[in-house]
């Protein structure tokens, strides 16, 4: 069974970012998506701390300690970018102005519920950041995650068992074995990577999958 690497998953998600869109990339794997958006597309990246038009990493020695992204990495500003305060930044998110938000997840339910901020493990103090605002605000919410946990347990479920980040918010899931849409009819497979079959993917999924629509 074909399993994409995280770089390949980022590349696949990047294909679905349209030219001219305003996009927020979550911390971690979602951030890698920017590396694979093709050069013929112009995409404006938003950083929740208060940047629109986030550019690449600065050259060594040219870092501005104030100019960091949400993942606390040094960044630059593209021509046409600008700065704003955190309340305005979240107005953009909550107000539905971002075309696409890409987040990682612990679990996604078949109705689009997202769990990505806390597990049921109380050993660690919780942290939520901007995850809940990103979840409710973007016009389309892409999730990028492995299809199963390290232990092989499904992460796509009938119902999340971890605390929710948002209810019914996910649009599309990019995993290492398939691309799946959340639709009013249920989870619809959009793409099976390589020779992966619906049956194989279904076996690793905790909710019923609908077959790809024939075009």
């Amino acid at each position: 069974m074909l399993r994409l690497s995280s770089e390949e998953m980022a590349r696949r998600a990047a294909q679905d970012i349209p030219d001219g869109s305003y996009v927020n990339l979550g911390i971690g794997m979602p951030t890698k998506v920017a590396n694979y958006v093709s050069d013929d597309k112009q995409v404006i990246y938003h950083s929740e701390n208060g940047i629109l038009g986030v550019g690449p990493s600065p050259l060594p020695g040219e870092e501005n300690p104030n100019l960091i992204n949400a993942g606390k990495q040094y960044v630059t500003l593209l021509p046409g970018g600008c700065y704003f305060d955190n309340a305005e930044s979240f107005a953009m998110m909550r107000g539905g102005h971002l075309d696409i938000s890409v987040l990682g997840a612990f679990q996604v339910a078949e109705n689009g519920d997202l769990a990505n901020w806390a597990t049921n493990d109380d050993k660690f103090p919780p942290a939520v950041g901007g995850a809940m605002d990103l979840a409710v605000g973007a016009r389309k919410l892409f999730v990028i995650m492995n299809h199963t946990t390290r232990e092989g347990e499904p992460k796509i479920l009938e119902k999340c068992t971890y605390p929710l980040t948002g209810m019914g918010v996910v649009s599309r899931i990019f995993t290492d074995i398939a691309v799946i849409d959340v639709t009013p009819e249920g989870l619809r497979v959009v793409e099976l990577f390589g020779d992966n079959t619906l049956e194989e993917v279904q076996a690793l999924t905790g909710a019923r999958l609908l077959p790809p629509l024939t075009s």
Binding site: G20, L52, G53, G80, F90, M93, R94, G95, G96
Partner: protein
């Protein structure tokens, strides 16, 4: 390639249909998109709901839309000014509906519509006629009125300078309602004095980020603006 420039005022407003909710920036004579309003008047869309701080004076701006009978409703804090003859006439004859909103409630209702907030509690207007019929709440002995978001199909706004992505900078008090309206409409159209190439606006000076703006237009002036 993102380029939000539109060649003419006429083209910029051509898809505003009859019955649209239209926000129009400005306070008094300051920061009003007079060219876009004139284009809208010539376009002739009817039954418009206009959301703006004032209702125009003499034959200018919103007053010209009222005169031509294009306005069904005005949502506004201060419709009556020296010279607001067309508003007064249409109001008296009952052909235009007025929703009167305290000014700070008006700007905040517009802002929260753009910010995805479902309502806010304001002390403004509590216990007055303008709170009648609205939900209220007393917190720590202080009374508040629940006010709801105010959004629109289109916003016509005025700025001084844009870049081709639609970042905007205003002139002095010309800012007024324009930045909030840019956030609150499905389609935001900015009339500007000049459009600069990308990278020529100081990013620390941008007031309206490009994400809130759909079209920018800067045709040579036909209509004298104040």
């Amino acid at each position: 390639m993102i380029d939000k420039r539109v060649a003419t005022y006429r083209e910029a407003i051509a898809d505003i249909p009859d019955g649209a909710d239209v926000m129009i920036g400005g306070f008094g004579s300051s920061g009003i998109p007079l060219e876009l309003i004139e284009a809208l008047r010539q376009h002739g869309a009817k039954d418009l709901a206009i959301i703006s701080n004032n209702a125009g004076v003499a034959e200018e701006g919103i007053a010209s839309l009222l005169r031509d009978g294009l306005v069904r409703k005005i949502v506004c804090s201060f419709p009556r000014s020296a010279g607001s003859v067309w508003f007064e006439k249409r109001f008296e004859e009952g052909s235009v509906e007025l929703e009167l909103v305290p000014q700070g409630t008006l700007s905040e209702r517009i802002r929260i519509a753009g910010a995805g907030i479902g309502g806010f509690l304001t002390p403004t207007g509590y216990g007055t006629r303008l709170a009648e019929g609205k939900e209220t709440k007393v917190i720590d002995g202080k009374g508040y009125v629940l006010e709801m978001p105010l959004k629109a199909d289109f916003a016509l706004i005025k700025a001084e300078t844009a870049d081709i992505w639609g970042n905007l900078i205003y002139n002095t008090a010309g800012r007024n309602f324009n930045p909030m309206m840019a956030m609150a409409a499905a389609v935001t159209i900015a009339e500007v004095d000049q459009i600069l190439p990308l990278g020529e606006l100081d990013p620390e000076k941008v007031i309206t980020p490009s994400i809130f703006v759909d079209r920018v237009v800067s045709e040579e002036k036909k209509h004298v603006t104040a």
